[in-house]
Symmetry: C2
Subunit: 616 residues, 2 copies
Amino acid sequence: MTGKIRAEFGPGGEVAFVDPETLVVEAAALAGVELQTPCGGKGKCGQCRVVTAGDGLTPPDEVEVSSLSEEDLAKGVRLSCRARIVGPTQITIPAGSRITTSTILETGLVDGVPAQPNVRRAELALPKPALGDQRADLRRITAGLGAGLAGCEADLDLLRELPERLRESDFAPVAVTIGNRLVDIRGAGGIPQAYGCAVDIGTTTVVAYVVELESGHVVGTGSAPNPQGAHGADVVSRVEFADQTADGLQTLHEESVGIVNRVIAEACGEADVSPRDVYEVTVVGNTCMAHLFLGLNPHYVARAPYIPVVDQPLRVSAAELGVRVNPRGEVYVLPNVAGWVGADTVGVVLSTRLRESEGPTLAIDIGTNGEVMLWSGERLLVCSTAAGPAFEGAQIRHGMRAAAGAIDHVRATEDGIAFRTIGNQPAVGICGSGLLDAVARMLDLGVINPTGLMVDEAGAAQLPPAIASRIAGKDQDRHFVLATVRESGLDEPIILTQRDVRQLQLAKGAIRAGIEVLLAETGLRPADLERILLAGAFGSYIDRVSAVRIGLVPSLPLAQIIAVGNAAGAGAVMALASTSEREKATQLAEAANHVELSSRPDFQMLFMETMLFQSG
Amino acid sequence: MTGKIRAEFGPGGEVAFVDPETLVVEAAALAGVELQTPCGGKGKCGQCRVVTAGDGLTPPDEVEVSSLSEEDLAKGVRLSCRARIVGPTQITIPAGSRITTSTILETGLVDGVPAQPNVRRAELALPKPALGDQRADLRRITAGLGAGLAGCEADLDLLRELPERLRESDFAPVAVTIGNRLVDIRGAGGIPQAYGCAVDIGTTTVVAYVVELESGHVVGTGSAPNPQGAHGADVVSRVEFADQTADGLQTLHEESVGIVNRVIAEACGEADVSPRDVYEVTVVGNTCMAHLFLGLNPHYVARAPYIPVVDQPLRVSAAELGVRVNPRGEVYVLPNVAGWVGADTVGVVLSTRLRESEGPTLAIDIGTNGEVMLWSGERLLVCSTAAGPAFEGAQIRHGMRAAAGAIDHVRATEDGIAFRTIGNQPAVGICGSGLLDAVARMLDLGVINPTGLMVDEAGAAQLPPAIASRIAGKDQDRHFVLATVRESGLDEPIILTQRDVRQLQLAKGAIRAGIEVLLAETGLRPADLERILLAGAFGSYIDRVSAVRIGLVPSLPLAQIIAVGNAAGAGAVMALASTSEREKATQLAEAANHVELSSRPDFQMLFMETMLFQSG
């Protein structure tokens, strides 16, 4: 670590030790702080401003001088995509320059998207009936709702209550519409706000966001593990459960609706919102999860040629589905692209504005399956890769989910390696991000070579003793000790075996091969990419240096590799808060060119190559 | 009857005795045969052709000579709106010239309206899924259905069965859509035909027509009395029952749905159609009947200012409503115009093409309420008049429904009067058409004067003895004997009292006042009318000479007063068989100018005048 320079970032106090001449934006990334760089670091947009004092940075270059005012320059304002670190420095990052991965938890919307919900609440003051004004009750109400809702319809059960409710309110009711349907009418003050819920049904975790629809703000969240996990960690094993168990599909369906109800209730509880005031629920999830939620048989989704029952967006009565919100509420399931490219991917494309990016941009959502999205500047391509569960810690000797005690970060030290665990608990295993780091460090240290093979006895002998002493075993069980018995919270050391390394190679190879296929489809090279977006929890937690090191993603400057958080869930929130966004999601699903990897003759060849550990 | 000429009409053999120079079309009308006269008897359209032999008619005039070919003229073809009867004659009426009041029972559609049903059945042969064709099941099907249905949706319960049904059919299924919804999919040969039902819910009688949707043909009918009659013959007493009885509304609702199911089952039985193959049901009825059918509270419909819950067309799930057709079928209730101007009136306007008439045309649907529709040539006006139940035989001393034994026709003879009964059974009462005839004859005979007052002793003494001997009693019980004890099937003579005459005056005055108000609104005089259409059973049965004689309808030549049968039911059939007609019905309901008689200061004055018996 000699020769590194300390850079501290305010107001959070994050620190990074960087090489001289490192760009501020990259240093910030190393410190775990994401900066806005809409122009891709070209110094064009001026949105990555930071403020510094002292002489730790290079002097302003011509781009900064032309982009920033003299006043700003005098105050120490700099562009983090231009300024480089040359000495110890403290840098303050204004809120506007910072990307927070939990943005959707606070605002629910990408900046600049106005709330335009499908659910509308209106306080009406209607003229009373008279011989000169004999309009029907419904027409009187819909006329009061304005021109856009003049043809509004209503369910029979509400129509049956309409005359009394209207007169009890003395013709001054509060009305709620969903799209073109009148769904509720109560006396003045009866419905203080109309809410919606956006739900992301992950294979592993289910998350709900409660949104105040008038503002589009997220006001509460809830999350819980998907109880279907008891029938198999991955999608295929759940489909097998549905196929082979009596009432298996029904069981999975009920579990899905049940957990959705639970996270909605939790989110509502956090926001002190009555589920009765929730009128719409938007849902994203992979195609199989969405099918199970709807009670649709995913049998043909999981088997070649991978045919979903439906790919278009679905509107379903919440009551029919058993979703416990307002009984006249609706559930809107976003469209999927294909059997293995689901509404969650559509949500990512929507919320990241992928298709509106200026230059070629790649987005990756890594889970049990890795969905890869490429915007070439002209076309939107998507594919799904069977990464397998290695990134979630499964099928790894000491693998585990990202939970307390999991090794989630491994770094090199002067005399070997050091690790960090989640919650600073005694180490009990290793999660995906830790696995990535560990393999990257093992490559750096020469413990494995680029083919993934662990050094033999002779090779180990040439390594520093602190490293060599960590290597033992034979063949597939040959391993590297991450945590010695003394460091471990278990009765044994925590190790990474040759087999584990191979599992990681398969996983990262699958994803990288998907990336390469999409690039090849468009004639682009990795270096042509202006940006890589990492979606999902895994994408937020992994160390991007390690990801590049093992070749999981193309080698771009770190500032151009950006974690975007739960972008799928953000897409669900946007589709909830804005009908324009909802329509855009449908257009995106239609516009996306799905590349079926299994039908491509070049895929296996690429896969073989991309399993190698090489960055580029 | 001296000086009258005998005219016989083929092929039915109907006979009329007419004055010399009577137009053939009027003679036919007197014989009970309706002829097509689309141009209103101007000799323009040539559609009222008849064929005659011999010299019983005036020679062809210039209009006939220019309108008919020489060949036709040589064959004896004539225009019945031009040729007049001058001597005994036999006239043959081609089928094309005849209007049959049961037309809708045979074809279901006004001539020239192509079937364009909302329900479509399609036999598909779809490409099978492959890695190169990964379309979702629903998209594969909707693509097969063609461009218009590309965005077709499907209910969740069908989607849940879709994958297996599609594969069981080996991707060659039969599909049924309702509008933009896929509602059924079965193996080849699974659905030989798609059917619909048109239902007319009358206050008194409920009728269903089964329609083969591909052709638009009515293939079966069913009818039954409305069981709600047990709670009151008229609409207001049923609304009172709903208001004042525990579960009254629910009882009426269930009775309505029950009777609709019964007539649908009867109609299906007649046509040998499974109700499962019936996918759509269109419904007309007055606003109150439609509300009760839907379970909507008619409380405010029946009370000033007469506000319906809804006036726009309603689509409701058949299953939700309890209508026993295909479980995914739909019920479509046509729009109403106002609280007392219902979907039945819209059906009449639709099927009679009232708004497309060349000149000013009046349509009247007489029941417990009389709906009056006037097309001025520019505007469509409608009103509802409270005729009361006199025309249905209620509140008349010997009044009864049009059933076996009812006196339905009364004519003058040389020595008094003669009557006819339904089914030639012994007379047990008098129905509406008989009442109309009887009063008209009493006017002719001088038994009552134009104010409706029956002659006193002195006046009676001046009448022929055969007539005078039929008059007896005092004040409101003063009466005229229609059937003597000898002629009666009862133990007493069948009489018409002064009070009965007053009831008829109130009924006919209400309707005529409605007609006069609409005429006044448009600045038209009765003589400006080119045609009067009489809808409904009553309109079909009444003697038009009597109707004109008592002033129920304006005095037009008989050929211009046309019975159009169950025009409301015909409208329901048309809306079932053609979406264009359905849209037109909605446009008509929107375009109709409802005139609320009770809000008009001139109505009572007009009513007083129109209660008098005077034709004009």
